[in-house]
């Protein structure tokens, strides 16, 4: 491990409700190398978006960060004041949001969106400089220069998402958090937008956290994948390892249930339903659906351990086999 770009340690985000705390994110630990692309996958409600928002410092009550550290450039972001966090957000960590159509202001031109982002962090001295900068930014994300004077409604969904990428990279952040950036787009446009994101990321050598549930996209875009289930990170490993030799039974079922073009009419789902975050089963949260469940699993919560070199998982099957 050399000089990680971002470290997340024992992050816990709880929602405090009248009926008790709901553990949206429970003890999540991972780190990101410079220029690395990490995917966070999980079903709806697994805590992947909450993890991303916690890193961005965008958790709002009733959700509360209970404990944990998010370390960027040697600083624990969770200890920063609101104003200090504001200076980091957008500048060193950028968010590319899920619904591009809802994240642009309909009465602002594309140019003004980008200028706003830059002005929030830096003083703009001369207008001419900034327009040249906007042109080169738009070119980087594959948009023609006339887009800078357009309003969001004049753009297609893919072009709007490219605008949000341009806003994300305009201050050259070292970490980009992309929360399902293509979930509302068609496949062809998705492919183009992801290629644009990849190109921009490589130019900056920025680390990317891609949040999503599309395993196809993860397989093609990411270097490493973290699998989340019921608020916990259950496995993390390189993309090849996750797809070829998944360790956690949930990951195994997830990988084997993926529809592909080479097997037909073979419908494998994961039996049972994901648990409600309010009422988690005792022991391992996956135990009611797990085909390899042991008595032990129903009582004791497994620890998140390095089961093989560089491969972390929380499953009793691998406990005692730590390397």
């Amino acid at each position: 491990m050399t000089d990680p770009a971002l470290q997340v340690e024992n992050l816990r985000v709880y929602y405090h409700t009248r009926t008790g705390p709901v553990k949206a994110v429970d003890d999540v630990t991972f780190s990101l190398e410079k220029g690395e692309r990490l995917g966070l996958v999980g079903e709806s409600g697994s805590g992947k978006t909450t993890t991303a928002l916690a890193i961005m410092g965008m958790i709002k009550p009733p959700a509360i960060i209970e404990s944990g550290r998010v370390i960027l450039n040697g600083r624990n972001l969770l200890q920063l004041s609101k104003e200090q966090y504001r200076r980091v957000r957008g500048n060193q960590i950028a968010l590319i949001p899920q619904g591009a159509m809802n994240s642009l202001n309909p009465v602002m031109r594309v140019r003004s969106h980008i200028i706003d982002t830059i002005e929030a962090h830096r003083r703009i001295k001369r207008k001419e400089d900034i327009s040249g900068q906007i042109q080169s930014l738009l070119a980087k994300v594959g948009l023609p220069s006339e887009v800078s004077g357009m309003y969001p409604h004049e753009l297609s969904g893919g072009m709007k998402q490219r605008v949000t990428i341009a806003m994300g990279i305009c201050l050259e952040p070292s970490v980009i958090v992309a929360d399902e950036p293509t979930s509302a787009l068609d496949v062809v446009v998705q492919m183009q937008v992801m290629a644009t994101l990849e190109k921009a990321q490589q130019e900056l050598n920025a680390a990317v956290i891609l949040v999503g549930h599309d395993m196809g996209l993860m397989a093609q875009f990411c270097d490493r994948i973290g699998v989340m289930y019921a608020g916990k990170l259950v496995e993390i490993g390189s993309v090849e390892q996750i797809f070829e030799d998944p360790l956690h039974p949930y990951t195994q079922l997830l990988i084997s249930s993926l529809p592909k073009f080479d097997k037909k009419g073979d419908f494998k789902g994961i039996p049972g339903l994901p648990p409600s975050a309010k009422n988690l089963p005792p022991g391992c949260t996956f135990n009611p659906r797990c085909p390899k469940v042991m008595d032990h699993c129903r009582e004791v919560e497994p620890r998140f351990l390095e089961a093989r070199p560089d491969r972390w998982t929380s499953c009793h099957l691998y406990e005692g086999a730590e390397s």
């Binding site: 023609p144 990849e198 196809g216 090849e240 529809p259």
Partner: protein
């Protein structure tokens, strides 16, 4: 060949024409399609958003009148059906909607959606008979009556609700079911059970299914044949194995290569381009602005469907030496069991 159960004859649907606006948005452009009941099949209608797939489904259901052309049910146009025939059409042609959350009235127990159709169409003579039909339908979709009946919609998961919708459609003993994006709102791990019940509709109940989707992977999983729509027209049609593994229309090729495969060993052909603002020249092929193989003729003339190879049709001038066909002609020759 006998009279097809459902037939679209050169249907076109234009939205947004009125007093002030002369040019409308052509959602479905001159599509012909037949659905016969001779052999049950699952046909996928695949396309991106805006390709007209849902509009086509609504036209076939009679939920939307066609601007031009006609939809025929057993040879009679939908617009001229007698009351008696309309009722029969309503029973024989069923639908499964996209959103399992909106399709239920939250104030009624889920039993309501199952008992009402039975009583409206007088399909059961007694309450016991109705009950046994309901239990049987639930079983086919993999639900247990004791887990589902007597509950309110919010007490069931999205997957269970969507399977209830399949059971509801099934109760009316339909001949055709139109399923409009039935799995797009359901979590990945629960999709398989719904797809499985759709496949069972065909195999155990001999129901023909039109599976409308933007997701080519699930379309490939369940269907026998596939129609690819692009901007309201049929781009390609044929046996699903052939369309997926050997696409012929340049659009289908682009579409299939754009799908990220859940296997890091299969490389994704990424291309960042595509943000250009190029207006379409009217009259030409609708894909000409994005087509890598476009030539002069593509800009001026709309290509008809050519029989690009036996059992295949592609609306592309690359196949101009081949005979011109209707989509249903090629599809009918390919109909064969899926598995």
């Amino acid at each position: 060949m006998s009279i097809p159960l459902l037939e679209a004859r050169n249907v076109t649907r234009v939205f947004g024409t009125g007093l002030f606006k002369k040019t409308g948005n052509v959602a479905v452009d001159n599509i012909s399609l037949t659905i016969s009941e001779d052999r049950p099949t699952i046909t996928a209608i695949a396309g991106e958003s805006g390709s007209g797939k849902t509009t086509l489904a609504r036209l076939l259901l009679g939920a939307l009148p066609a601007t031009e052309g006609e939809v025929l049910y057993k040879g009679d146009p939908l617009s001229k059906l007698s009351r008696h025939k309309w009722r029969e059409f309503r029973r024989e042609v069923q639908t499964i909607f996209q959103d399992p959350f909106d399709a239920f009235n939250p104030f009624y127990k889920v039993d309501h959606v199952l008992t009402v159709p039975l009583s409206i169409f007088k399909l059961a003579r007694s309450r016991q008979e109705a009950n046994s039909q309901i239990v049987e339908a639930l079983e086919l979709v993999g639900l247990r009556a004791e887990d589902t009946l007597g509950r309110y919609p919010h007490q069931l998961s999205g997957g269970q609700r969507q399977r209830l919708m399949v059971a509801r459609a099934l109760l009316l003993k339909p001949k055709v079911i139109l399923a409009d994006e039935p799995v797009s709102m359901v979590d990945a791990s629960l999709r398989a059970t719904i797809l499985e019940s759709i496949l069972k509709l065909k195999e155990e109940r001999s129901i023909t299914v039109l599976y409308i989707t933007h997701d080519l992977t699930t379309a490939y999983q369940v269907s026998d044949r596939m129609i690819v729509l692009y901007k309201g027209s049929i781009a390609e049609a044929g046996d699903v194995e052939q369309v997926i593994h050997d696409p012929q229309h340049p659009y289908t090729k682009l579409l299939i290569s754009s799908i990220p495969q859940p296997d890091p060993k299969e490389k994704w052909e990424k291309d960042a381009h595509g943000g250009a603002l190029r207006p379409l020249t009217p009259g030409g092929c609708k894909f000409v602005d994005r087509c890598p193989a476009a030539f002069d003729r593509c800009h001026s003339t709309l290509p008809p469907l050519y029989m690009s190879s036996p059992g295949r049709a592609a609306a592309c001038f690359l196949y101009r030496d081949h005979p011109v066909v209707e989509a249903s002609e090629v599809l009918d020759t390919t109909a064969q069991p899926a598995l």
